[in-house]
């Protein structure tokens, strides 16, 4: 059901990757994404494949969990693949009417699809191995320099934390209200678009009312415990740079050098 959505999901495990500093993981993910655009041939992808494969193995996240993240964007991959294959000019391999597949087109299509797949695997690995709370902690810490420019960094991070925290709660609430309305004969499954949209009203109104109620209660509870924003606030689990983070940096530097060297010399 709705609980099965996996994008942005966390996979609880005690691996070396899970334990890395979230700031480092965010930066590394960005570096990794940039590096994908440096790759110009399949030898480069071999380096990428070996590296990301190693990280996946170390993270102990099951492969099928990572592949599940690819499912929602399968359509986009298929679409770019087809476009690339059909729109590139070059040596014709096969043609039928105005449809022609060229050697260059096929090469391009595979190349682009791989880039997308690697991109998704890398970024979903970030959310799979990092608790949402750690992730927002990391973002807050990385954005700190922008505070001087007037960006409410702490408040943004807090909003993100709360939003992430309440996704499961709201899904649960949705499930409960849906069942209650079904018991009164509501039908969410049949009928045309308009009928179905109308059928959502008995679900959405209690859901919104509930969301406001939860928000109000939460605000009250936070104030009762003297929450007053980011000024002078310390963290229970302060982020700390450790030995394993240094090891990860060395690994990333080697990886990046390999990708760059491959681009220049091969």
């Amino acid at each position: 059901m709705i609980r099965d959505i996996t994008i942005g999901q966390y996979y609880p495990e005690y691996s070396k990757i899970h334990k890395l500093d979230p700031r480092l993981k965010i930066v590394v993910t960005l570096v990794y994404i940039v590096s994908l655009f440096l790759v110009k041939d399949f030898i480069g992808y071999a380096i990428v494949f070996a590296s990301i494969g190693l990280v996946v193995a170390m993270s102990k996240v099951p492969i099928r969990f990572i592949l599940r993240g690819l499912k929602p964007i399968f359509l986009i991959i298929a679409f770019t693949f087809t476009l690339n294959m059909l729109m590139t000019k070059g040596t014709i391999l096969w043609s039928w009417g105005f449809v022609r597949i060229t050697e260059e087109g096929l090469y391009n299509a595979v190349f682009m699809a791989l880039r997308l797949i690697f991109l998704i695997i890398g970024s979903s690995l970030l959310t799979l191995t990092t608790k949402p709370i750690k992730l927002t902690d990391g973002i807050e810490s990385l954005l700190k320099p922008f505070k001087k420019m007037g960006l409410p960094v702490h408040e943004l991070a807090m909003m993100m934390t709360i939003a992430l925290r309440f996704i499961p709660t709201l899904l649960e609430e949705t499930d409960k209200i849906m069942k209650a309305q079904q018991a009164r004969g509501a039908d969410f499954e049949t009928g045309g678009l308009i009928k179905r949209a109308k059928a959502m009203i008995p679900l959405l109104i209690p859901l919104f009312v509930g969301a406001f109620r939860i928000a109000q209660d939460l605000a009250m509870a936070m104030e009762a415990r003297c929450y007053h924003g980011g000024e002078g606030r310390t963290k229970l689990n302060a982020l700390k740079f450790r030995g394993r983070d240094a090891a990860a940096i060395i690994f990333v530097v080697i990886y990046l050098s390999a990708v760059v060297a491959e681009r220049i010399f091969v």
Binding site: I177, A180, A183, I201, P202
Partner: protein, 297 residues
């Protein structure tokens, strides 16, 4: 009218590391006219069990029959089931959504495809039964009502569908004594008027003893006892062992017994207790000491 559940099992989050067997091989039957109570510790699977009885949840294995219709089979029409089995959820006030109380209560009957006149008539009757004055409340927004009034409106929304089987999941949780008593009286009058089967889930042993004529006891997803209230509440040790207890009147009788007053296992309700005490005290001179009072329920 009858309900039959055969070897019902329900597993939440099947296949994941944190799967829970919330209902485990439960079988029972309920005949027309019965008033059934379900008791059990928090998390024992009561809510999960009753959500199967109108097809909201599908069991992992096992079957349910409402009369002769197997509602667990694939090709059964759900509206037909929901017309016959009304389910009032725990904290039903969170399902209110319409602009006015009347329209909210009419939601269920409308979904049954009744005529407008019939819908309004049923809504009026339901409001009367739950003790919401039509003139005062029909055109009010349900969101402006107090907690107890919201609860009444939500229950009326189910009663207005006139189900043959009425199932209520802790309908009195969190209400004040007056509203509590009103809801119980409402359930009694619905039962009297419509007959059928009523199933009441409650943590209040007094209510269960007072109202029901059969009790199902759940523990860890299993149906561990099934019998008359007198039978179930006779075994205080067992009930305490699974986090439950006996009605206050029965406790009082047990305490009196421990204090030397001849014990009487059949005291369950306040009425029983009054009779028992009257008999003990008033009858002391009449030599009727050993006569056990008649159990009135």
């Amino acid at each position: 009218m009858s309900i039959k559940a055969e070897n019902l099992t329900h597993i939440y989050n099947k296949g994941l590391a944190y799967e829970t067997k919330a209902v485990d091989d439960v079988s029972f039957t309920a005949e027309d006219g019965e008033f059934i109570g379900i008791i059990g510790h928090t998390g024992s699977g009561k809510s999960t069990l009753i959500q199967h009885l109108n097809g909201i949840l599908k069991p992992e294995s096992g079957r349910i029959f409402i009369d002769d219709i197997e509602i667990t089979s694939k090709n059964v029409k759900m509206t037909q089931i929901r017309k016959r089995v009304g389910l009032v959820f725990q904290y039903p006030e969170y399902q209110l959504f319409e602009e006015t109380v009347l329209r909210d209560i009419s939601f269920g009957p409308k979904n049954l495809g009744l005529s407008d006149d019939e819908v309004v008539e049923r809504a009026m009757e339901a409001m009367r039964l739950v003790g919401l004055d039509f003139e005062t409340y029909a055109e009010r927004s349900p969101f402006e009502l107090s907690g107890g009034q919201k609860r009444r409106a939500a229950i009326a929304g189910v009663i207005a569908m006139r189900p043959d089987v009425l199932i209520l999941d802790e309908p009195t949780a969190g209400l004040d004594p007056k509203a509590h008593e009103d809801i119980l009286n409402m359930i009694r009058s619905v039962k009297e008027r419509a007959g059928g089967i009523v199933v009441l889930v409650s943590h209040n042993m007094g209510d269960i003893a007072e109202m029901t004529d059969r009790v199902l006891v759940m523990d860890g997803g299993k149906l561990v006892r099934d019998g008359a209230p007198a039978e179930i509440f006779a075994d205080e040790e067992f009930l305490k062992g699974i986090g439950l207890g006996v009605p206050p009147a029965a406790r009082m009788a047990n305490v009196l017994a421990a204090g030397g007053l001849a014990s009487d296992r059949s005291v369950l309700t306040l009425g029983d207790l009054t009779d028992f005490l009257a008999n003990r005290l008033g009858g002391a001179g009449g030599g009727a000491d050993d006569e056990t009072p008649e159990v009135s329920r």
